[in-house]
Symmetry: C2
Subunit: 380 residues, 2 copies
């Protein structure tokens, strides 16, 4: 395999970590949008734990094990985990003192918590470990690997959380970067305005990935355990081409093509670059959960959209947000020039947003996120 081919292969199948470290461009400092999702999900998770989780019956040996899948480097993952632990502790206390009476006096020690932070092995685990909250009330561990595979022993997890992660596919669908395929996605970096065969290739990949995700989790999560998912998606019934996040990628693709036409980046490189993200609808998730059969959906609801500007211009916040996300996958594809290309791409992108304020508002204010809570069923 030639060097270029190797790079392509690596790009197609590898992980695209968020920008590591804690610098200005890092994911750690540009994930306030995702933080909004975590905050919005917090309330729902607290309610759901109260209603749906029977802590005492699912915990053996008094250890409650939580996994955050696709955790990146924090701080969002730490907030999310803290919320879950607080919710479980409250539920546990409530159950102990139900009706004003302390039940089961011999066993009133609250479970200890062990939290597994998972992401690809290319994730910046060293930064994650050094930034763990010093006052945390749990034992922390890192687990490297794709959550589309098995990561944990059987029946060893009580709560799985995953935020803005399962919208990433395990890989770019093969046909769309195969020049000889009808689904070759020339001149595009995503699928929303592409040929039907391209959209189908993304749908097939999504379907396979979600089956792997649910199959692996069905083995890992104890009966009665929960999975909470915060998902960047698209509303039921909305065509891909009208979904704000798809529109964003479409716009970025056109900026890249503009750069290619000016010779700032190789057109062939842009042809072979595709974003491995599928924006699923709640109905699509329901169908996948039904097909898998091991989980019941306990909650499924839209989350409010929260873009925190922190006093900065909206166009700047949006482009910084996407910069942290695009950096990893563009680096693998475009190599050393990534910073120059990314600088120009995001500058072009920002200009287009400023020229079309209604477009800017639509791709920022209506970005669609939904929440799903799955409970592991004991099989008949």
């Amino acid at each position: 395999m030639g060097e270029e081919q190797q790079r392509e292969e690596r790009w197609r199948t590898e992980a695209y970590p968020m920008k590591g470290g804690d610098g200005m461009d890092s994911y750690a400092n540009n994930s306030s949008y995702q933080r909004g999702g975590v905050d919005a999900a917090k309330k729902v998770i607290i309610e759901a734990v109260g209603e749906k989780l029977d802590v005492k019956s699912i915990v053996s040996s008094n250890i409650f094990r939580i996994a955050d899948l696709g955790c990146s480097v924090g701080p969002n993952t730490f907030f999310a985990v803290e919320s879950i632990i607080n919710a479980v502790q409250s539920k546990w206390q409530y159950d102990q003192y139900q009706g004003g009476v302390l039940h089961d006096l011999d066993h009133h020690v609250c479970p200890e918590f062990q939290v597994f932070f998972n992401d690809h092995s290319s994730n910046d685990f060293n930064t994650l470990f050094t930034s763990l909250p010093p006052d945390r009330q749990y034992f922390a561990a890192g687990v490297a690997g794709s959550f589309y595979c098995r990561l944990f022993p059987s029946a060893s997890l009580h709560f799985v959380h995953s935020s803005y992660a399962i919208n990433w596919l395990s890989q770019v669908p093969k046909p769309i970067i195969d020049k000889s395929s009808a689904a070759w996605n020339k001149g595009k970096i995503h699928y929303s305005n592409s040929k039907d065969v391209v959209v189908e290739a993304y749908e097939v990949q999504y379907s396979e990935d979600m089956e792997c995700f649910l199959h692996a989790r069905a083995q890992e999560v104890v009966f009665g355990g929960l999975i909470a998912l915060v998902i960047a998606g698209r509303p039921n019934g909305m065509p891909h081409s009208q979904n704000p996040q798809n529109i964003t990628f479409e716009l970025m693709g056109s900026c890249l093509m503009d750069m290619a036409k000016k010779g700032k980046v190789s057109e062939e490189k842009v042809d072979s670059f595709n974003i491995p993200m599928y924006l699923m609808s709640p109905q699509e998730l329901e169908a996948a959960v039904d097909r898998n059969g091991y989980f019941r959906i306990e909650r499924l609801e839209d989350l409010p959209n929260v873009l925190q500007l922190g006093g900065r211009p909206k166009s700047e916040v949006i482009s910084s947000h996407w910069r942290a996300i695009m950096h990893g996958m563009m680096e693998v594809h475009f190599g050393r020039d990534v910073v120059i290309i990314l600088d120009e791409l995001l500058e072009l992108f920002r200009k287009k947003l400023e020229e079309d304020l209604s477009l800017m508002d639509s791709i920022s204010d209506t970005l669609y996120t939904f929440f799903a809570l799955l409970k592991r069923q004991a099989m008949e």
Copy 2:
């Protein structure tokens, strides 16, 4: 606190990771001596698991959890873990088919293994994760933090392994870097030929650290669980000053002082540099285990000394070995100049070895390592 003071404080209390990555100077490529220890311990561990571990009675929920404390970056940790798993599997199979009859037909599924790789958060976990054996038969996790503190939930581990790690103290004993203290260790980098008060300061630190280690493990290891320790130490009854490893540090200290006298490194820097390693004897370990009270020593024996030369000159192998070990702590203390200082130090060290072959043989061929197997006792 001034910058220099901060550096000193950082140096006194921080972790000194082995050289990360997989370069020529890395620990990964310069740990063949420690590999010898792992190999020598393998046979003893297999025997000990066979005799002392009742897999079925200690494993609940069919998951066998192993921790390697102070694992560094591999490959030694992977060999060690593989040996333990093979030994546990053999023991488990033997118990199932004891007397030629398959007992307990309903429960003959071998436990799944979950392995926790632990080291300080400054350890190169990204290299560790990317170099995990692809064909491993366990679920892997990384745990960052000092093993002198709690790292795992109560009663959650079945087997703890630690190789060439608990000879490292949690910190340089405070009095020996305090200019106003009687134990100020001027002109020395270790304790073997120092004043009695210096030796005592090291002994006190060792004693406190070992108490913390055993106290934390007593909570984490299940009743009947095992701790296997491979320890760089000194034979019972041998004075510190005659122990080959102490002699090595003494020699390195004198090389550093030679460099200071030639102005190649600041004398003050050398005065405040001390190696936080205590070479305990098997008797000292026994005393600590007795004081703690939660474990019984099941095996305690010397390991054969194996320096693998791989066709390279002995003096070169020895200096590469120490280079990988010294790099981390010297970097924190000497800052950016570490490579230059280390180059010259190891060159001087190598020359001194070549000038005195009997010294070289004594500090390489008689380096003392011992093995201890501890079993967690159920308390009365």
